[in-house]
């Protein structure tokens, strides 16, 4: 059963990813990416990572892809030529990616299958389920990284607002705001 689900989800993910990089319209590409994300979330579910499945659907497919849709709606112009088959870049990119796949394939083929039962990692936590395990690990062993993540999100928020502000619609902000006199424009009369 696990093999059937794995085959189903992985074939959908690979097919949707292949279609995604060939789309002319941005919104179609985002829709296919959402399909890829749901398939990868399904693979997470097959691998007994329910919490990550939920987080992937809510955060990635629900927030990040909506971000992309907003941007695509704001911009909205399709690309003229998606992949030109005659440019040397095309064949160079294919050669490089196939070399990468070949090297990774050699590595993956030489991996010894792990011994022991999969999915039986011991959770020594009061609740015993996955969410409490992840929460406990985050707040016990990885607190600094978690707080750093909070700061990172805050910085990204402020940065995104500042970078994407529209300079034409803002008021001129050369006043100091406290009602001072404007500087004198003429020197002393001689």
């Amino acid at each position: 059963m696990e093999a059937v689900l794995f085959t189903l989800f992985s074939s959908v993910a690979i097919g949707a990813a292949l279609l995604m990089i060939l789309q002319r319209q941005m919104v179609y590409a985002v829709g296919l990416m959402i399909l890829v994300l749901i398939s990868i979330g399904g693979l997470f579910l097959v691998l007994n990572a329910e919490f990550l499945f939920f987080v992937q659907l809510i955060v990635y497919a629900g927030a990040v892809m909506v971000f992309f849709v907003f941007t695509a709606m704001m911009i909205g112009e399709p690309e003229i030529n998606v992949l030109s088959l005659r440019s040397p870049q095309f064949w160079l990119a294919l050669v490089i990616v196939s070399l990468l796949l070949f090297q990774l394939g050699i590595y993956v083929g030489g991996i010894q299958p792990p011994t022991g039962l999969p999915g039986s990692f011991s959770i020594d936590v009061q609740g015993g389920d996955q969410l409490s395990y992840i929460g406990e690990q985050l707040f016990r062993n990885h607190v600094v990284a978690l707080q750093g993540l909070g700061v990172l999100i805050l910085v990204a928020l402020i940065g995104a607002i500042y970078i994407s502000r529209d300079p034409d619609s803002l008021e001129k902000d050369d006043s100091t705001g406290t009602g001072e006199e404007p500087p004198a424009t003429e020197g002393p009369k001689l």
């Binding site: 990813a17 992309f68 394939g105 039962l117 999969p118 970078i163």
Partner: protein
């Protein structure tokens, strides 16, 4: 079973890499970068499952959040570029200063 998950993640990573190398549209390039990040998330979760370690899922949590923050700033930059130059074709963005 474990090498098959790695194979799927490898293929997804290579597809994302092809998209980054060959597409001229910045938004699609960012989308393919997200695909590469997702394939590494798949590697982490499958390693966590098959090697019986819980640390992979913690790292996936962090990678997810960092990629969301990176997408926010990246798309804000894309919008700013589009407002200034009117194009998102990467071939037209050859200069550092306009």
């Amino acid at each position: 079973m474990y090498p098959y998950y790695l194979l799927v993640a490898m293929i997804l990573f290579s597809i994302g890499l092809l998209g980054v190398l060959l597409r001229r549209n910045i938004v699609i390039v960012l989308l393919c970068i997200e695909l590469m990040l997702n394939s590494t998330n798949l590697i982490f979760v499958s390693a966590s499952h098959f090697l019986s370690a819980g640390d992979g899922r913690i790292f996936v949590f962090f990678v997810l959040t960092v990629s969301a923050a990176e997408v926010a700033v990246g798309l804000a930059l894309v919008i700013s570029i589009f407002r200034r130059l009117g194009t998102i074709n990467m071939d037209d963005l050859k200069e550092l200063k306009w």
